[in-house]
């Protein structure tokens, strides 16, 4: 079984209070379906990127901590699933459902596998 990150992307300054009840319901239903299918390893929603702190190592060896996301970007990861599925195609099939349920773009990305047995 392989693990995939299915990350949902929110626009900058995304306001969680604008999420409709219908969307919440669809996401809830999708979560239930993933759990029922035995594929949901982990799921989590992130607070807005303004709550993020970025840490950078300085040439002098110190770590500099600044407020805000590491990258200036138009979109940030707002939440994610880690799914355990047979292959990329299956991860993408769940990704399709996530796009519809969350009404946001979704990124699907494989994890490194366990050390191969040979």
């Amino acid at each position: 079984m392989s693990q995939y990150l299915v990350a949902i992307h929110h626009p900058d300054n995304f306001d969680p209070s604008t999420v409709t009840e219908e969307t919440m319901r669809d996401i809830g239903a999708l979560n239930k379906e993933m759990m029922a299918a035995g594929v949901r390893f982990f799921a989590g929603g992130l607070q807005p990127e303004t709550k993020a702190k970025s840490l950078r190592a300085q040439p002098n060896g110190q770590v500099l901590i600044t407020d805000g996301p590491y990258l200036e970007a138009k979109e940030h990861v707002g939440g994610f699933w880690i799914l355990e599925v047979a292959d990329l195609d299956e991860a993408l099939a769940w990704g399709r459902k996530a796009v519809v349920a969350c009404r946001t773009p979704v990124e699907v990305r494989p994890f490194f596998e366990m050390p191969p047995s040979k």
Binding site: M1, G38, F41, D89, E90, W94, M114, S117, K118
Partner: protein, 423 residues
Amino acid sequence: MSDTHKAIEAVWKIESTRLIAGIARVTRDIGIAEELAQDALVAALERWPDEGIPEKPAAWLMTAAKRRAIDALRRGRMLELKHGEIARELEFQQQRLGEAMDQALDQVIDDDVLRLIFTACHPVLTVEGRVALTLRVACGLTTAEIARSFLVPEKTLGQRIFRAKKTLSEAHVPFETPRGDDLRKRVESVLSVVYLIFNEGYTATSGEEWMRATLCVEAVRLGRRLAKLLPDESEVHGLLALMELQASRTAARRGPTGEAVLLSEQDRSFWDHAQIQRGMAALARAQDLGGGAHTYALQAAIAACHAQAKTAAETDWKQIVLHYDALLQISPSPIVALNRAVAVGMAQGPAAGLHALGALAAEPALANYHLLPSVRADLLTKLGRFAEAREELQRALAMTENRREQDLLTAKLNQTPLNDRSN
């Protein structure tokens, strides 16, 4: 295969179980439900490559299945439908059927999926039939995939599924979740099918490697699904724990040339520790529900002892012996007794192990089982009784035709001195 084709297969894989379960709620016959779902898949394969994959593929498939069902009704095929749930007049039937199916997918409830699994694992079917039908309707595997994983021709497997569906229909097996006393027995039947699928993938030494792995994956998934559907059944969690703990060692079980690596020799850093944790959680759940003394939970507890040992030397063999004692109480078998003797040998020393083996010599079921002399040889070697150990190894060699086993035994024979160690 084109990307669209692969995408359609993947959609089918994640949607087919609920689709079949939803249709079966209307048709009350999983054979017909499965055929209608297959018809819908054929329609998708025809249309999606041109039209693109619809936003809600599951709803599309259900609508396609509904159309096929109404066509079939018109042609009289659905008159076999049971339970008189669909009224007599054709017109009315079509409308009822259409409405029922429209509702079905929106409301595919966990119970539908559970009924589907219980029906596919019904005791009226042969064990082979249960396994094939479960992989087909509850895991979304194709006939070709199932055939490959069991090393039988696709045609044979197709007939097996056909016969199973026919048997269910002829025996008027209701599409329902059993209740009361019946539930316990039926859960056992489901769990034995799941564990059989798992073991076929885990222990078999032949066949296509990746198809074998698929069987393990599907069995663990089914186990997780069942744990959600039957959260209060301790044995479901016990079996899930056992499968998670065994599967956690998958990456460490094969050496560089594909040879089997024994548990004591495995590189434990290759074990999947997240999976071990899940196995431990499932085991705790089984025990909390009062099922710690059931057969799957006890086997899981033994696997847990191994999983928790950082090195082979740290294994808590005393605890393992206790678990085997309990296992012997509830399901006595010569194989369990043999494994127990190995554990006794580790926990209390080789002499005690030999003593535990003593009673098994007369066991007819083990008369031709190479592991009995092989285990005895190991214990004798540890005691320095090399001449007897060599005899046992030769006996074991004569009993196995498996090349890898023979190589292993020959290597041991070559390492065993000719004369006993003088103490």
